[in-house]
Symmetry: C2
Subunit: 219 residues, 2 copies
DNA sequence: TAATATTTTTAGACAAATCTAAATAAATAA
DNA sequence: TTATTTATTTAGATTTGTCTAAAAATATTA
C-alpha cells in the first residue's frame, strides 16, 4: 500500500481544497497556498504524478485522480476528527484546534482513526462546521453559503469561517459572532457590500462585505 | 525555544533509555538500539552536542545533559500519555499501543499534552506499568522488580514487560499472564532458573528463567 | 500578430539524514 | 609491549525536499 511523506500529504490536501470540486489547479496557486516556490511545486507534482495521485502534463495544471481524491479525503478525515476531539474532549477553543490538527493528521494508523471516530461517536461535522468523511471516504455535501450570499430575512447558523487569522477572530469576538450563532440579514448596502445583521434580540449590527465573505452559514 | 526533528527526538529518547540512570552510552549501542549505522550516530551526536543536549567527546561515549534529560522526559511523557489514551479510551490492546504512540509522541504541542493529561485524569502509569513523567518532568521511581527476583510466597502484580515481541506476547497469552495478573512464586529451580507460579486458583504453572527475567512486577 | 508580461519548468545548489568504505583510535591478547 | 581485533570517526555519496536564477512556454495587450 502506497504511503506518503508529510510533505506529500500536505500537497495532496491543498490540491483537494483548491480544486473546489473539479477545477484544475495551477502551479502558482498551489505555491501560494503552501507558502512555497513554484519550482518546488513542479518537483512535487512530478513525484505525485509518478505515484498516480494526480493527472499532470507540463504547463497544463493538475487534478487529483480518483486515488488521489481518496487519499485527500482520508487526510481530511483525520484532520477533522482530531479537531473534533480537541474541541469536544480537551476543551480547546475553536481557533486553536486547526494548528494542532495539522500535526496530528499525519499520524496515519488506520485503526487509530477508526477507533477515534467510534470514541467520538461518529461526529458528522468538525468544530468549524465542515463535514467529516467517513471510513470509506464518503463526505456529506454541506449546504454552506457565504454570509454575503444569504438572502434577506432568512435565518441561518454560523458554521464555518474561512480565514482564521487572529485579526479575524478578534473581530468576530468583538461582534459576538461565534460558531452556532443564529442570525438574519436585515439589509444589504450595494454601495460597499456591507450588511446589517440581527442576532437574537440584540440591536442590529453592521459588518463589512469582507467579513461577510469569510463567514459561512448553514441554511 | 529549541525544537527537535523526529530523528533527533528518537535519538534523545534512546540515549535516555540506554543510560539506565547515569551510565555513559556508546556509539555501537545506540546504533543497535535505533537500527542504524555507527557512522550515522556519530553525525547525530555532533549535532546534539552543538545543541547542548549531550556531553560528548570523540571516542568517549555520551550522556544527556540536564537539558537533554528534561527533553527526553517530555518525549517519554507524550509517549506514555498517548499509550494510556489508546488503551483506556480507544480500547487498543496492550501490545498495540506502543507502535502508534511512537508516532503520536512527536506531536509536540505543550497545551495538547497537558490537556490530554488532564482529560485522562493524570494517570501515573502507562499500560505497561511504566511511570508517566508529570508536566515538570518529575518521574516516579516505580517499585518494579523482575519476576525472577521476586521472593517465594510474596504476592505481586504484573506491571511491565520488557521484551514486547510478538513471540513474547504469544507466550504470555498462552500462559494466561497479562498486565494486572496477580501471582506468587511457589518454587525456584536453581538448575535452570525456572519458576513455578501460582495464579489465582489455577493449577501451578511453570515458566523459564528467560521469561521470568522479562516480566516485571510491582510489589 | 508582434511585443510584452506572466507562468511554469529546468538546471544546478543546499541542508538534513542517512549510507558505505576507508582511516584512525582504543582495547585486548599474544 | 607489540600485534591484532574492535569501536569509532572521517570522507564522500545518496535521497528528499527545498531554493534561486535562468530558460522556455503560454497568455495578454497594443
Amino acid at each position: 500500500m502506497l504511503t506518503f511523506s508529510i510533505s506529500e500529504e500536505n500537497h495532496i490536501k491543498a490540491i483537494y481544497h483548491l480544486q473546489h470540486g473539479d477545477q484544475s489547479v495551477s502551479t502558482n496557486q498551489l505555491a501560494a497556498e503552501l507558502n512555497t516556490k513554484p519550482a518546488s511545486i513542479t518537483d512535487m507534482m512530478k513525484k505525485l504524478k509518478a505515484k498516480k495521485i494526480i493527472h499532470y502534463e507540463a504547463y497544463k495544471g493538475f487534478k487529483l485522480t480518483p486515488e488521489g481524491r481518496k487519499t485527500a479525503l482520508m487526510i481530511i478525515r483525520r484532520h477533522r476528527l482530531w479537531e473534533y476531539f480537541l474541541s469536544e474532549k480537551l476543551q480547546f477553543s475553536w481557533d486553536e484546534v486547526h494548528e494542532v490538527a495539522e500535526e496530528l493528521e499525519h499520524v496515519s494508523n488506520e485503526k487509530l482513526i477508526n477507533k477515534l471516530d467510534e470514541f467520538l461517536d461518529f461526529p458528522r461535522f468538525d468544530p468549524h462546521g465542515d463535514p467529516i468523511p467517513d471510513a470509506s471516504g464518503k463526505i456529506e455535501i454541506s449546504r454552506q453559503i457565504a454570509l454575503s450570499e444569504l438572502a434577506i430575512n432568512k435565518v441561518a447558523v454560523v458554521c464555518n469561517v474561512k480565514d482564521q487569522s487572529a485579526d479575524m477572530l478578534d473581530l468576530l469576538n468583538h461582534k459576538s459572532i461565534a460558531l452556532g450563532t443564529k442570525l438574519e440579514v436585515k439589509k444589504k448596502f450595494d454601495f460597499d457590500g456591507s450588511l446589517e445583521l440581527k442576532i437574537g434580540k440584540q440591536p442590529l449590527i453592521n459588518i463589512s462585505r469582507q467579513l461577510a465573505e469569510n463567514i459561512y452559514v448553514k441554511i
